[in-house]
């Protein structure tokens, strides 16, 4: 993998030295030996309904003064039993559940699920569908990272980037709506293809979005990247080494910020990702600031991918031409008895899957998103398991937050980019 290093001109910050090293603030705390007073630690509860926990996460924090001694996350406040519900649905009906799980990047979940099922069934989708799904997934990677950027900046104390990010998100909302009719709960994929082909002019809209996004990213870059407050609150906070990050199971930007170049798109390529020209940004400190930089760069790389995918989008059918999988067209159903029966049988009986199991993982916006599907020969899953990236990422928070201040805990939590719908499922 070709690698290049990007130097950030952090030296222009008045509080930064010329080499980009932080200059100690004159307001360093007076370093005197503290008198032995004998103190107790105390428990502080954060959440489950708290603006800084990004959902209904609950953290029970043990504090010594303002220093975090230990953090115990409590989960399950959004346990919606997706996996159990999936066992009562046919393979295609499960698609509607996937986007309610990660409502920040619904299309990635839609695609990941059907890709796993297609692999289980041995279906090869059309070239157009492959590129279409790449467009959808990269668009939603940006979509998710923009929300992370907005909430991250609120946590760091800046409200303006939130508004900037949401203006761009609103454009993706409109693209979602034009594609599927829904703003968040897209359910855009079907086994063997997509819900529908792209509407007229939709790719033009994506192109326009990809053209305009870097300007917004530059604006937010100006506001945050070299901001002294931002740097002071994130550099050196929540650092984790590469070995520990791998051992904790971290994936996605959280792992890459520690310097491990593990990206499913590069390491286990799907949908011809190996033929796209893009780079995987990695950090070298593994702290919150590096996670921020990695995600900012990932958005720019996703823009590159969007342009390339739009350039190569081939014509032809979107769905596989297999009557056992694909529905007949609506026009045929309305005018032709056989097509109507075909439609009826496919909908009521579902598509059978072989009695095997299949693991398929994609690079989601939060990390490695794995789908494990087990079939038993019938049209419903025996087991549908999601490998939730933010669930595993969050499990490292006790390790990351130990010894930091309470305020840093909020930044560490924000830097992990969690979504509770996926953690609790």
């Amino acid at each position: 993998m070709a690698s290049s290093t990007v130097e950030y001109a952090v030296g222009r910050n008045p509080e930064m030295g010329p080499a980009g090293t932080p200059v100690p603030s004159p307001l360093e705390p007076f370093d005197a030996p503290e008198p032995e007073l004998g103190s107790q630690t105390m428990l502080v509860n954060v959440g489950p309904q708290h603006p800084a926990t990004h959902g209904v996460l609950r953290l029970v924090v043990e504090l010594d003064g303002e220093t975090v001694v230990s953090v115990v996350p409590r989960l399950g406040y959004l346990h919606s039993s997706f996996e159990k519900l999936g066992e009562y649905r046919t393979w295609n009906q499960v698609v509607t559940l996937t986007d309610r799980m990660d409502y920040l990047a619904p299309l990635i979940y839609n695609c990941a699920y059907v890709m796993a099922v297609e692999k289980l069934m041995g279906i090869e989708v059309t070239e157009r569908c492959k590129v279409a799904r790449v467009i959808c997934m990269e668009m939603d990677r940006i979509f998710s990272h923009l929300l992370w950027l907005g909430t991250w900046s609120i946590d760091v104390g800046a409200f303006t980037p939130f508004l900037y990010a949401f203006q761009q998100r609103e454009k993706v909302y409109k693209l979602h709506e034009a594609l599927t009719g829904a703003r968040i709960t897209t359910s855009a994929t079907r086994i063997g293809g997509m819900m529908a082909d792209f509407p007229e002019g939709w790719t033009r809209g994506v192109r326009e979005f990809a053209d305009n996004l870097p300007a917004t990213l530059d604006e937010i870059d100006t506001l945050l990247t070299c901001n002294a407050i931002h740097i002071g609150r994130t550099q050196g906070i929540g650092a984790i080494s590469a070995e520990e990050a791998v051992n904790h199971g971290l994936t996605g930007a959280n792992l890459r910020a520690s310097g491990v170049p593990y990206d499913v798109r590069k390491d286990r390529p799907y949908y011809d990702y190996e033929s796209y020209d893009f780079e995987v940004p990695i950090g070298c400190h593994g702290d919150c600031y590096d996670r921020y930089l990695v995600r900012m760069e990932e958005m720019r790389q996703s823009v590159r991918l969007l342009h390339q995918a739009l350039d190569r989008l081939p014509g032809g059918p979107m769905d596989v031409e297999d009557p056992r999988i694909s529905l007949p067209s609506k026009t045929d159903c309305m005018s032709d008895m056989e097509s109507m029966i075909h439609h009826f049988k496919l909908i009521t009986e579902g598509i059978p899957a072989p009695a095997e199991d299949c693991w398929f993982s994609v690079e989601g916006s939060k990390g490695e998103l794995g789908m494990y599907v087990v079939g038993d020969g019938g049209p419903k899953p025996v087991r549908w398991r999601i490998r939730p990236p933010s669930f595993v990422n969050l499990s490292a928070i006790p390790k990351l937050a130990e010894g930091h201040l309470m305020a840093d805990l909020i930044m560490i939590n924000a830097s992990l980019d969690i979504v509770l719908g996926e953690i609790d499922r």
């Binding site: 959440g47 593990y262 095997e356 020969g377």
Partner: protein
């Protein structure tokens, strides 16, 4: 545990699975090292290293190697996969379980990935329903902690040696069983009225378990269920339970 039904009612397999798709029994399984495909050196090495620990292996979904191992030796074999120079499965992607229903054993599934070698392996252990116990792999991968807790919560599989095996998604006092078992009804075992009543009678402050913090008994300060910014107003206020003797 109220999950005895799955053992009692053995299903009649003769009346089902008559469709065009292969049933589970017909999937060819390779029973020895002689039939191991040349594609995956890890599987060959496992057969050589643990001839009695590896039970069988198969290939699923085209290119996914699945190895069934003896549950007794899970830490030994997975530790070997993690440590050995040629294998280095350093990324534990997933730990989960599958209940096939009908009294069949529950499978615990480990999904491994080797970042240096770019290789995947799926390891499965079959646990009979009357002995749902297996050794924890948290000593090998710290990341297995919550994944195993989730399997314990939703399937009732006990992981021996796990540092903190408690329910993680369902409430601590959940009395209806393990939801992802096949014999667990979708809407739960209790009526909705009972579920609502039970939900509201649980006290959010019960969840403060100083034991899980460690041996210390800390001072409880804010305990509101509604978040830190209104912690003092939410009922408990400042408590001094624990006292000085814990320090």
């Amino acid at each position: 545990m109220p999950d005895k039904g799955s053992v009692a009612s053995a299903p009649d397999f003769s009346t089902v699975a008559s469709g065009p798709v292969r049933s589970r029994a017909e999937v060819p399984e390779r029973e020895g090292p002689a039939s191991v495909p040349p594609g995956n050196p890890t599987v060959t090495a496992l057969w050589e290293q643990f001839p009695d620990g590896v039970l069988r292996n198969r290939v699923c979904a085209g290119d996914e190697d699945v190895v069934y191992i003896d549950p007794e030796r899970v830490t030994e074999i997975l530790g070997w996969l993690h440590e050995t120079a040629g294998q280095q499965y350093d990324h534990l992607a997933d730990v989960t379980a599958v209940d096939y229903g009908g009294g069949r054993p529950i499978e615990v599934v480990y999904q491994l990935w080797s970042i240096p070698h770019r290789a995947a392996l799926r390891v499965k252990c079959e646990l009979p329903l009357d002995a749902l116990e297996i050794d924890s792999v948290t000593g090998i991968w710290v990341g297995a902690d919550w994944l195993e807790r989730e399997v314990y919560d939703l399937f009732g599989v006990t992981f021996q040696g796990h540092p903190d095996l408690r329910r993680i998604l369902m409430p601590e006092n959940y009395a209806e069983g393990h939801p992802l078992r096949k014999d667990f009804p979708l809407r739960g075992r209790f009526s909705r009225a009972e579920q609502t009543r039970r939900a509201l009678t649980q006290d959010p402050e019960d969840y403060y378990m100083p034991g899980e913090i460690g041996e210390r008994t800390p001072q409880v300060v804010g305990s509101g269920a509604d978040g830190g910014d209104d912690a003092a107003g939410s009922g408990a206020g400042v408590g001094t339970e624990g006292g000085d003797d814990g320090l």
